[in-house]
Symmetry: C2
Subunit: 370 residues, 2 copies
């Protein structure tokens, strides 16, 4: 038996034509420890947008009901040649009700429950998911649990990474995001000093309202001094950058070095011995990352991604993290949404241009069954 439903597909042809459309998909019955979830809510995260649209030209695209045809500019089209011609599902995470299960005990135990899941095709009426990766939401609604994976696990992953690498403080860029707000609360709970970097006064106010101690505004004239002072106060020689392109990680490494140098007793042309590290975990800016030779050789810049982090962390740590998310789903890990759209509304020009801007506090929630 199969279940038929609507699902979003994104297809990039080698000539740069990107087609994103609502299509029909047959879902086979779940087997073993699989479950079939009727998807009720799925957030549109930056990581979804990269696959859904990438840097395609949505302003000048052709819009028809349930369909967008756009052009992918170079060098991004060539850079994505691994996906050329493939009709790909989209949507990392979401939540809904388990309506069928395989024979496995873990799967059967979820029958009829509202669960959060990470199927990779969350922008869909139905999704097959592994029972082991499902989080039963108890009394919470699908909407409350829709964003319980990507942002919460990433924010908790930062705190775990800090602990694993021996840091008691960190910098976070673009810190007023949903994820950034979670991180403020996590760091408070875990006794980690957090330097939040934002770019607007209203974001400073927002984070201060959550109790954040160190909030630095990159639009201020004395931004570098603010940043150095916060690093000096916290010993934050370690941080996370969701922007990727440009010079914000470089700026942080520079400020760290300037603080470290003030603690040296004599000049060294190699710079300080203070190790400095930034992780890039997102690509809000797809431009190149620029590093200046202004902080010696004691620095590291690295990519950070949730999946390999979880593989390294192991099941016990993951289990602990997931329990913490569930226990605090409507407090620390609550997400808010600007607007709800169904699959067709998601592909209107008005909606697509709006959520693709990835503005802080303006996240969309997809409700596939309306």
């Amino acid at each position: 038996m199969t279940t038929t439903g609507k699902q979003i597909f994104t297809t990039l042809e080698s000539d740069g034509t990107l087609t994103v459309e609502v299509g029909t998909k047959e879902f086979r019955d779940p087997t073993g420890n699989q479950v079939l979830v009727k998807m009720e809510a799925a957030p549109i995260n930056p990581s979804d947008l990269a696959l859904l649209f990438g840097p395609a030209d949505l302003e000048n695209a052709e819009y028809s009901p349930g369909k967008i045809v756009a052009t992918m500019p170079e060098p991004f089209n060539s850079g994505a040649k691994g996906r050329h011609g493939q009709r790909l599902p989209v949507g990392n995470e979401g939540a809904g009700t388990v309506i069928a299960t395989g024979d496995g005990d873990a799967a059967k135990a979820l029958m009829g429950q509202c669960v959060a899941c990470v199927p990779g095709n969350a922008f869909s009426e139905y999704a097959l998911a592994d029972a082991a990766m499902c989080l039963p939401l108890g009394d919470h609604t699908a909407e409350q649990g829709a964003s319980s994976f990507v942002n919460p696990m990433t924010a908790l992953g930062f705190a775990e990474t800090a602990r694993m690498e021996g840091h008691k403080a960190m910098i976070h860029l673009a810190a007023a995001s949903n994820l950034g707000q979670m991180l403020v609360k996590i760091c408070q709970e875990d006794g980690i000093e957090l330097v939040n970097v934002v770019r607007k006064q209203e974001q400073v106010d927002l984070l201060k309202g959550l109790g954040a101690k160190h909030v630095v505004n990159s639009s201020s004239d004395d931004f570098m001094k603010q940043l150095r002072d916060a690093i000096a106060a916290t010993d934050a020689y370690f941080g996370f950058d969701p922007i990727g392109g440009g010079q914000m990680s470089d700026t942080c490494l520079k400020a760290m070095e300037q603080v470290a140098v003030t603690k040296m007793s004599e000049y060294s042309r190699y710079g300080s011995n203070q190790p400095k590290k930034m992780y890039i975990y997102g690509r809000l800016d797809l431009g190149p990352t620029i590093l200046t030779p202004s902080y010696g050789f004691g620095w590291t810049l690295s990519g950070w991604l949730l999946t390999p982090f979880m593989a390294n962390a192991g099941m016990e740590v993951i289990g602990r993290m997931r329990k913490r998310v569930l226990d605090n789903l409507t407090t620390t890990f609550a997400s808010s949404y600007k607007r709800k759209v169904d699959l067709e509304e998601m592909l209107t020009k008005d909606a697509a241009l709006d959520y693709r801007r990835m503005q802080t506090g303006e996240k969309y929630l997809v409700t596939p069954h309306g």
Copy 2:
């Protein structure tokens, strides 16, 4: 008692005036486990040039006997504000004869011997050095031992770092250098696969002549294909870059990812899970380092410097490395020099412009006593 001798000093004023001159220095008698070395030979390494001249304008400098006055351009002058007004000695390494010692046994045992040392003021007639850091050269001459520290220990440090991090292959950029030639031999001896990247056919020939298996010419039209093929043949997802500025590390990470992607069974917009790492260990190019978002999140770029490496590696590893250098000083670790200069000749326009070009195979040796 003191010994008086000539020494090179470099002074950068806050207005950007750089003065490099032969001055006079009083050396106090060594105490404890210190020795006083009559310096006979010291190489001019890229790491010395950074402190000696940096990116100062040597073409338009004022030259007088034993003195150069040049201008340091921005942003480098501001970036070096930690040294403003300080009259600094230069010269990481060299070799000579121990002419006085402190009371310590380790020091007294070196009396009269020819030793290599790392005094930080090697461009000098005399230098005080710690006995523990001196390498007794046995029957070798000071000239043979002058470069026995920086390049040999760095090249051996790369092999150690590869082992510590679980790699059996590495990429080396600007691989025809003295250091690069040492690395070819070390990797042969240690069974590490080495991908050498050079930029001229004569450098390809040179390294092939040393028995290098994989030599890639960045001036070739099919450079990227050559590089990918060499990575695919060796599994070199790890490498060392002495250039720093520009896109060569980026190019290596890109080629690594392109090879890794061919081994994936399905497309992931996050790229491959293959960890990729490049170390920048020099700054032959002082321009910014450019990283493009074209290899997912499984990458790391980091600075590498000999001193913190040695501090981490520990005395046993360092002792083993130094013994290996001494045992192979005229073979694997032999250095060659284009020209010998005394302290005054070192500061002539002709010489300074020539050795500052840091051309492969054109290293200068300073012989302070002529």
